[in-house]
Every structure is written in structure tokens, then in C-alpha cells.
Assembly symmetry: C2
Homo-oligomer: 323 residues x 2
């Protein structure tokens, strides 16, 4: 973390738009008199905010947040340092930050809740909406083995944890189909960008793999940061990953986590089997490349810029800059 503020940031373009989305009709949009219960709403779309550097030579990156979070994940860190959205723009990559379907600025549909409120549907039909509390998130994000213990050498800025908890939002994903509507929207986005690197995190870890299974057009590489799951070598068609550069990256303290150790093992099995089927997949643990102390929220850790530097280099090697 530099004491000096960074130099000004010059962008050739910035803005936002949506990909995906479909219209649905409902008789229970509202239980408030000022708004009609009947009508059409648009759902499943994905909000995208972008920043494009001047004359970018590097490929567009799409940054996809995880469970119970939004695109805020990639912006200013809880302790006020630069987020990866800006870091990678400064490195010459156009960055596209999304909010998953039904999360953040990507609309959900309140109809099932209103139907239960008015008695038109049974309460059991309410969507399985969930928030992750601070206490249970602690071990999930691997700040320590259990709340409020801290792993030795932890790089997450715990002194600013109050600002981090504010990033967490309710999660509708358990009520959505598989693949999540975010997946076809990401496929549309990658095509629109005429080639992009999809960078997923945690819950969204599997999404870029599901994009590949749907349509490889537009997908130049996959970076899965601490994915909750990798494709299943026993069930999934791994030929869709042929010749595709794939990085599966885990941070530190993984073997000390009963939640994450099996996921690492599952991803290792995927990487081995995918490569046997012609993929170009790599699995890296940060300590193996000399970066230590990282939590599950590695893009916000105090050494997040070191990881971004290494990741930018990996992308340069696997998806070379244009001439």
C-alpha cells in the first residue's frame, strides 16, 4: 500500500449496461396500494459496469463475484485501497464488473413473497433466500478456523471488517435454476466483447466452466479464484475445455478448512482429468508462488496488488497482448 495517491486514471470509456433478461408476467408484483399487483417485469438480466483504458492491448476481463456479495467485491477494498477493477484497468485491461442475476443492481422478482403474504400461495413456497452472518462467514472466508479466531499471518484487513460486512447482501441463488441465469448472460457478454477472460470467485467459480459448456465463442480463458466447485470429471463433458487456458487459484490455509479442503481436492481431480482430455488447465496455491497469508477474499487482502501482478502476468502468457 503506497502512501502516495496513484496518478490520475485516464479512461477511453466507462459506463454500464445489462446483458440477458426476460419478461415475466405476475399478478402479485405489489402489496402496496400505490403500485399495481398485475403486470410485467424483467428479470434474470445481469448488470455490467465497465472501465476501458486508452488503446487497450490486453483482453477484456469480466469480474464475477461470489456468494452473498455483489460487484462491490472488486472495487475499493474495505480499508480503502485500490480495487482490482481499477488495478487491472491501469494495467491496460478493460474491466467489466457484474452483479449476478437477482443480486445487487440485477433485479429479482418479489412475486413469490407477495403471493405468500396475500395467501395466494403457501408460506412453504417462499424462496430459499439466505444471508451469511458475520460469525459463520468468518470460517467460510477463512479469516480463521472459527469466529473470531484469526489464522497466523492473515492478510485480510480485519481492522476494517465493519466495512466488509456492509458488502454482504441476501442471496437468491438457491431459488434459481442451474445453471444460474448469470451463465447465459456471461456467454452473451463474452461474445459482445469479442473475446474475454472470465474471472470468477467462490460461488460463481463454476460459472465460466458452464459458459464453456454452453458456447465457447467469446471465451478466451477461465480464471477461477477459490471456486466452490470445478466441473465433475466423472459426469461433465471435459472436451469442451480442449485447448482452453484455465487457471484455478486457491489462497492460503486451505488444508486447515473442512469447507475448502475437499473443494481443492475436487478441483485437482478436475485439472488432471481435463488436461488428459486436451485442456490447458493449471491449479496454483498462492503459497506455492511465494504469496502467503491470503484469505478467501484474496482480492481484498493487504497483498492484493501482489496477486494482481502475478495474475496479470499469467494472463499475458496464456492470452498474449495484441501486437
Amino acid at each position: 500500500m503506497s502512501a502516495e495517491p496513484p496518478p490520475p486514471l485516464t479512461l477511453s470509456a466507462q459506463g454500464s449496461f445489462f446483458v440477458g433478461g426476460r419478461d415475466v408476467s405476475s399478478e402479485t408484483l405489489s402489496t402496496v396500494p400505490a403500485y399495481a399487483p398485475s403486470g410485467t417485469v424483467t428479470v434474470d438480466q445481469v448488470y455490467v459496469r465497465y472501465q476501458v483504458p486508452v488503446a487497450p492491448a490486453r483482453p477484456p476481463l469480466v469480474l464475477i463475484h461470489g456468494c452473498c456479495l455483489t460487484g462491490k467485491t472488486w472495487e475499493t477494498t474495505p480499508d480503502g485501497r485500490m480495487g482490482w477493477d481499477e488495478t487491472f484497468v491501469r494495467k491496460g485491461f478493460p474491466t467489466y464488473v457484474i452483479d449476478q442475476s437477482w443480486r445487487g443492481r440485477s433485479a429479482g422478482n418479489p412475486s413469490a413473497i407477495n403471493a405468500a403474504k396475500t395467501g395466494a400461495a403457501a408460506p412453504e413456497t417462499l424462496p430459499p433466500l439466505f444471508s451469511a452472518g458475520h460469525e459463520s462467514s468468518w470460517a467460510i472466508f477463512r479469516f480463521g478456523p472459527e469466529y473470531p479466531k484469526v489464522f497466523d499471518g492473515m492478510q485480510f484487513p480485519l481492522e476494517a471488517q465493519g466495512e466488509f460486512w456492509k458488502q454482504m447482501v441476501p442471496d437468491w441463488s438457491a431459488s434459481l435454476p442451474v445453471p444460474n441465469p448469470t451463465v447465459p448472460a456471461l456467454s452473451e457478454l463474452a461474445k459482445r466483447l469479442k473475446g474475454a477472460v472470465l474471472i470468477s470467485h467462490s460461488q460463481s467459480g463454476i460459472y465460466p466452466f458452464q459458459v464453456a459448456a454452453l458456447d465457447r465463442t467469446g471465451l478466451r480463458a477461465i480464471v477461477a479464484l477459490e471456486p466452490a466447485a470445478c466441473p465433475d470429471p466423472a459426469k461433465d463433458d471435459l472436451s469442451v475445455f480442449k485447448d482452453l487456458p484455465i487457471l484455478v487459484l486457491f489462497a492460503d490455509y486451505v488444508d486447515e478448512s473442512p469447507r475448502w479442503a475437499p473443494r481443492l481436492a475436487q478441483c485437482r481431480a478436475f485439472v488432471t482429468t481435463a488436461n488428459a482430455a486436451g485442456s490447458r488447465a493449471e491449479l496454483i496455491l498462492l503459497p506455492e508462488i511465494g504469496i502467503h497469508g491470503n484469505s478467501h477474499m484474496l482480492m481484498q487482502d493487504k497483498n492484493s496488488q501482489d496477486i494482481a501482478d502475478w495474475l496479470g502476468g499469467w494472463i499475458d502468457k496464456r492470452v498474449p497482448p495484441k501486437g
Copy 2:
């Protein structure tokens, strides 16, 4: 709308943070096995994204969206033109775009929904969550007198309405206290910015006035764009607005709208009474200043840059740039 892309945008800083927020305990955070039902979540905070020009001479602007929308309101328009977030940065104003409490990237709390799902609470206790459907929104946003009729000369880019509908999200505001938790958060933000112009729209129209009633520190001027309500001259203490520059701005077709005509009349009464009590309030209809054809979503209309130019000039007069 220029055929040429604008020149590059140079920012001295950009990023995001939260203001406000409080911790609450719950026993019904989750009905999904992977996440614990008991724990603490943080709610009521307000997400803020900012862009600061180099050496800004003009005051910070806080852009506050209305009903059923998020901060996306102020970004790229549905038909892909520049949003006011960027327009005003290019004019030399630092811009701060928020998501209201419990909306967009500002977390809500799913506990009441989960309590009804598990039977711990009656379905009648479910929050009055609502979405505005396309058909009923049509007249509310004054695209025309009723769906799908269009007012003559309408400037909203209806050819891109599909992109606009994607901006709409469920609204929790009817379940929140008055004033909305966004109000104290805005007060905190204005203080943190050491003086800001609060620019509200529609549902949030009253918020800056409620900020003034709470604490005038940090509040340099109020711009209420098509407010759903102004303070009540018969009930509210208007002395809190003494010497405060206030602009209440309405667009076009107001008298043709049974929803909006009474609100215009109510704001006229407020302005007259507030000025008698020492305020510096103005009420302007866009046609009075030669700008015609505007909908309720005037910041997205095809002539939105004309309105921004005029508004920038109003702010320069009432909150003069620093030397």
C-alpha cells in the same frame, strides 16, 4: 447526441464505499443448509460509488435515485448515451452515486421472509415488497397518459425501453421506517464530503429535505428532481431551510398526469411558504426554460445533456465554484 465518441475521461480518484449501517441479530438468516440461520448481519448502509475529476473546483454532487430503481439511473442511458454521473464529472463536479438502503448493492435483511417460510411468523408479517410493472410504470414515468400511448414530442428513448425495464428492481421502502435509513446515511455522506449538493429524484425527492431537518452540516444545496413529495408547509418546520438554495424541478406533461399534478401543486405551496420563512427555493418546470418533451426520467431523455447544462449553471450560481 454526438456521433463522435467523447475524449478520454481523466479522474483523480474513483472507487466506492458505504455510509451508515447497523448490526442486527437474527435466528432466521437462512433456510439453506450450507448457511447458518443464526448470526449478525449489517443493514441500512448505503453504497456510494464516486468519480472525482482532477482539481475539482465545483462542489460534490450526490445523485439519489427513485422508486424501484438503483444508482444505475444516473449511468449510461438505456440507448447508450453518457449518464449524468460522467457528464457532471466532465463539468468538474465530483459525483457520488448511491443505492438507497435495502436496494441494489445496499443490503436488505431476508429474516422476515425466512421466518414466514419456516412458520416462525405468520405470512401476514411478510414485508410489503413491491415491483412496478412495465404497464403501470408507463404512466408513472409519464411516457404517455397510459400504456402504451405516448405523449406528443416525448424525449424518452422508448426504442430502448427494454434496457430501461432491466434497471427496475424490487423496492423494500414500504417496510422501512420514516425517514428512510438512507436519510441519516446521506447526512453522514454530506459531512464526510465537507459540503455537497444533494440531488434527489422522485421517491427520494423528500430525502434531502429530511437531511436538512436532521442536520444542516454538509448540506450546501438541494436539487429535487420531480419529487414525489415536498415538505408539508402546514406540518414541517420550514426554518431549517433558511438561506438554503433549493431547486425543485419538474419536467413536461405534469398537468396531464393525475399522479403528478397534485405533487407539483404541493411543491409550489412548499416553495412559497419556505421562501416566506427565509429559504431560497425555486420551482422550475422545464418548458418554462425552453426545454420540452421530458418524461419523469429526465436524466435519461434524449435531451438529458441540455438539462445537465442548465442544472450545472444553476449550481454554479447558487453554490459558486471555489476561486
